[in-house]
Amino acid sequence: MSILETDGDRLLTALRGLLAAKGIATPQEIAERIRITEGGSPAQGARMVAKAWVDPAYRALMLSDGARAAEQLGIPMRGAPPLGVLEDTPELHNLVVCTLCSCYPRAVLGYPPFWFKSAAYRARAVRDPRGLLTEWGTVLPDHVKLRVVDSTADYRWMVLPLQPAGTEGWPEEKLAGIVREGDMIGVTFPAAG
């Protein structure tokens, strides 16, 4: 048996010790990195979406340079890949997948959810996307065009969904509260509540 087939927990314990002993990654550095990473969450992306719904200048910035728009809300983007924002319209719905691995806009949405990493999602999104959406109970009207964005390279992509009917005039914070993770990948739509 190759040493690489060793159980993952044992490999991690061994590597943790070796990397600390070599001064490559100390337990303190690891703990700090985990803390920083956990700062990314769907609530960050939701704040961007809500602001774009109420502020046309911010929407324009977000569509032209997602990373700058994120930074403007205090979301740290240093070292993160460029962020592209895909605008839904009444005629066009966007859906993000990474068929090759699991590229995900982590800086603004946090760790990718389990389903995004699954073989079924990755395989079906580019071939049977409308069937895939029904797994979430999402039915796309026939007159709406579907654009599947396969995230294969240096960008990360998030969806700017349509503001749901019945939320006109809501304050930004309340709007941010209805935007979920799946809405910003395109498997679900935000709803008024």
Binding site: L100, A123, R127
Partner: protein, 102 residues
């Protein structure tokens, strides 16, 4: 149509055998193992010891049966170990000793 040419395991877009497989849309909690492996990979990248591209190459070299059996971050720890060994950042003797020490 799925193309007739041999395909790498990880290259999953449109692969027929997954077309009827349901998606598990339930939330799965992140484990301490997942968080730590993720953090170590980030640190190795920041310190220019191994790139995300090398991580992917290592994941892609995992045999198909193991690829689908292992969890996402189990693939990662295997790829990280593989890459660090290949680059001589750690030696197999060091790794064996550390595994035995537990």
């Amino acid at each position: 149509m799925e193309k007739d040419v041999p395909r790498a395991t990880h290259d999953l877009g449109g692969v027929s055998k997954f077309m009827c497989e349901p998606v598990d849309t339930e939330p799965h909690a992140f484990t301490d193992f997942d968080r730590e492996v993720d953090a170590i990979r980030q640190l190795l990248g920041m310190k220019k010891i191994m790139s995300v591209d090398e991580l992917r190459r290592g994941v892609e070299s995992i045999p198909e049966a193991d690829y689908h059996r292992l969890t996402y971050y189990q693939r990662w720890i295997r790829s990280i170990t593989d890459t660090l060994l290949r680059k001589g950042v750690i030696t197999e003797a060091e790794l064996r000793a550390a595994l035995e020490a537990g």
